[in-house]
Amino acid sequence: MECRPFENSKSYRALQATTVTQPTCRVPPGGLYFPLTNVDRLYLILTVVAYGLSLSSYLRYLVTGKDLAGRVGTILLAVGLCAHYFALLERSRGLHTVPYHDLYGSLSLFGWLLALTYLGLEVFHRQRSVGAFVVPVVIAFFLFSHLAPAGRIVETPAKGIAFAFHVTLSILAYAAFALSFVLSLIFLAEQRLLRTRHMGAVIWRLPPLELLERMSQSSVIVGLVTIVIGTALGFLWVDRLQGTVLYYDPKYLATILVLVLYAAYLFLARSAAWRGARASKLCVFNFLLVIFSFTAVNLFFSHSHRYF
């Protein structure tokens, strides 16, 4: 994420006048974001290896049902989380800024929070079968953020605890929504297999449908709570920074829409005729909207959001 530079924090006109297409760049163009040190490489490799082995263990657990493989998957995921954390930390030190000041940094943080949310959910629901579906997404985000072509880092006045929590909680919300998206897809696939009577080996390892629904709802609750707090902190930060609140950034509209649709999902999934597959489809649709908000809205429409 990156917030637009507020060159004149007293004036919204001044805010509009600034663009991210003319940033101050501190890294050489064409290269990576910042030169990788040996320590960075070490954490990068350690993270990829730990996540990769974790995925392999989770897959083994899914196919064979061996508890040991599942436990090893969980431990390796925790190791990957630690390594990923230090990778983020080193990257921040290298850039002298928080890890979400650029798209790729925010994607890496997104991957880390996704893994963290999943681990929390796994421990809470005591269900490991989903790991095989979530860890590939984490790996994809991590690799994409670290191996993608170079971008530019923008000098911004975006700092302070409120801002840091605003960004972190917002990305945590997106991670939780991503998790509910994966869980809903598993629900839809498993339900289809059950209804069409195509039982293979894996279906006996997948979580029960009702547990998948509960896990997805738990995840959405985490997402809703964090996005509400994160958004409130965002308004607070903007208010402090420039003394006024912006009401017409398309990002706000997208965020409100996301909030309303996920609240509708929670309501429909629990109390109405939509419970089951219909609610899961809504959850999938909601996440597509999140992706739209995360990418298109940020990059092309929003005035004050770029990377989260």
């Binding site: 049902g65 061996k66 279906i203 009702e210 005729a273 419970r275």
Partner: protein
């Protein structure tokens, strides 16, 4: 230190024979005690399940003689004529006995391939025999190995992973949809045999509420008593279908008893809460067209049978892997057995050699009467030293032999060459 096994199982004996030769817990204890008291076996363990009755033991004498005595004892204990019993009995010795037990504990020898219950039955039989002093070092080691094999096969293979009966497939499907069933409600329609098996499995999983519907109120009351459930009068579908999460139907009827419109209305009333319908009736009890209703999961007997068939095929694919684990543990046990035998054999050899030496000296010393007692003692010591040296090398070679097959061959050769009549160590 040999092992003998005499027994029968579902492959060798029809149920009429198996039920006559089965042991209650008390009978198993009594038989084990008597076999030891009569000197037929030194260590004894009786394993008796609905599909097998087997006696494992360590005989004091030749295994084959003990096996014969054991068969005779079994026929007299159960009052079955020997000629009627002997065609059903199998006799296994040493390696084959070990291998048989390990296959039994891993579920490879079960009627239902990979069934889980047998491991618990082996554990219980061992616990009983151990607490009654029936087992010694050999059977302790053997049965501890069997329990280890059973656990490994279950954790490292898919042999026991998937449901293998129509009833268990139905219950496992319910668990795929609802998770744990201890907070779920089931409705039982009719009283078919498979339906009863499903209900029994649901009871094992502590299903929270059970309701029974039957055309005959009397029969419904009887079923409710049998299953520990409550009766709902036949035909009250609105009420009946609002309660359960799963319905098990095995009604004897030519026409479907659950129609699409009935279930559609019920689903609306229950706000589309998921409903699993298991149609175990032939002809079918539930209109097949309602399978496409939202949040309804319908499985008939053929669907469940197909699941069982797929699972059986999957389990059979796991047999080679399970057999590898069994073989690995058989080798491990035999290696231990051979090592213990070597120690015993060397002790016997040493005693025998000393006896020979004493006899030899007694004969020769009469001719050498002029030796002083101190000199005689010195000669005895020197001879002891020489003999010990002679024994040391083969002993070390025996202990250090890596190949189990060669180790056993060497033990046998040593026994044949130096001990009279294959004397047991």
């Amino acid at each position: 230190m040999e092992i003998v096994l005499v027994g029968l199982n579902h492959r060798t004996a029809p149920v009429e024979v198996r039920e006559r030769v089965s042991f209650t817990v008390e009978q198993a204890q009594q038989a084990a005690t008597e076999l030891r008291e009569r000197g037929i076996l030194e260590e004894t363990l009786v394993l008796s399940t609905c599909n097998r009755s087997e006696v494992y033991g360590v005989p004091p004498e030749d295994v084959r003689q003990s096996a014969g005595a054991l068969a005779t004892y079994l026929s007299s204990f159960h009052s079955v004529a020997p000629e009627a019993l002997s065609p059903s009995l199998y006799h296994h010795y040493d390696r084959e006995a070990v291998r048989h037990l390990f296959r039994v504990s891993s579920g490879l020898d079960s009627m239902l391939l990979g069934e889980a219950e047998i491991l618990g039955q082996v554990r219980e039989a061992y616990r009983m025999a151990h607490s009654n002093g029936g087992t010694g070092p050999v059977l302790n080691r053997l049965f501890q190995g069997a329990l280890e094999v059973g656990k490994r096969v279950r954790s490292e293979t898919e042999l026991g992973a998937r449901p293998m009966s129509v009833a268990s497939a139905g219950v496992k499907l319910a668990e795929r949809i609802f998770g744990k069933l201890n907070q779920r409600t089931a409705l039982v329609l009719g009283a078919g045999t498979i339906g009863e098996q499903v209900v029994s499995q649901l009871r094992d999983r502590d299903v929270a509420h059970l309701y029974v519907m039957n055309r005959s109120r009397e029969k419904a009351d009887q079923l409710a008593r049998e299953f520990g459930g409550k009766v709902i009068p036949w035909g009250e579908w609105d009420h009946a279908l609002n309660l359960p999460d799963l319905v098990v139907s095995s009604v004897s009827s030519d026409d479907p008893v659950l129609l699409r419109d009935t279930v559609k209305q019920a689903m609306a009333a229950r706000k589309n809460r998921a409903l699993l319908l298991m149609d175990l009736g032939v002809p079918r009890n539930i209109d097949p067209s309602l399978a496409d209703l939202y949040n309804v999961y319908l499985y008939n007997l053929d669907d469940l049978t197909e699941i069982v068939r797929q699972n059986r095929a999957a389990r059979e694919q796991e047999i080679p892997h399970a057999e590898d684990i069994v073989d690995e543990h058989v080798t491990k046990f035999l290696s231990w057995q051979a090592s213990v035998e070597i120690v015993g054999l060397l002790d016997v050899l040493r005693t025998r050699v000393r006896q020979e030496r004493a006899e030899f000296l007694r004969e020769r010393m009469e001719m050498l009467a002029h030796f002083k007692p101190q000199e005689r003692e010195k000669i005895e010591l020197l001879m002891d030293e020489l003999l010990e040296k002679l024994l040391m090398r083969p002993a070390e070679k025996l202990r250090g032999e890596k190949s189990l097959h060669k180790k056993i061959q060497n033990v046998d050769a040593l026994r044949d060459l130096f001990l009279k009549d294959r004397e047991k160590p």
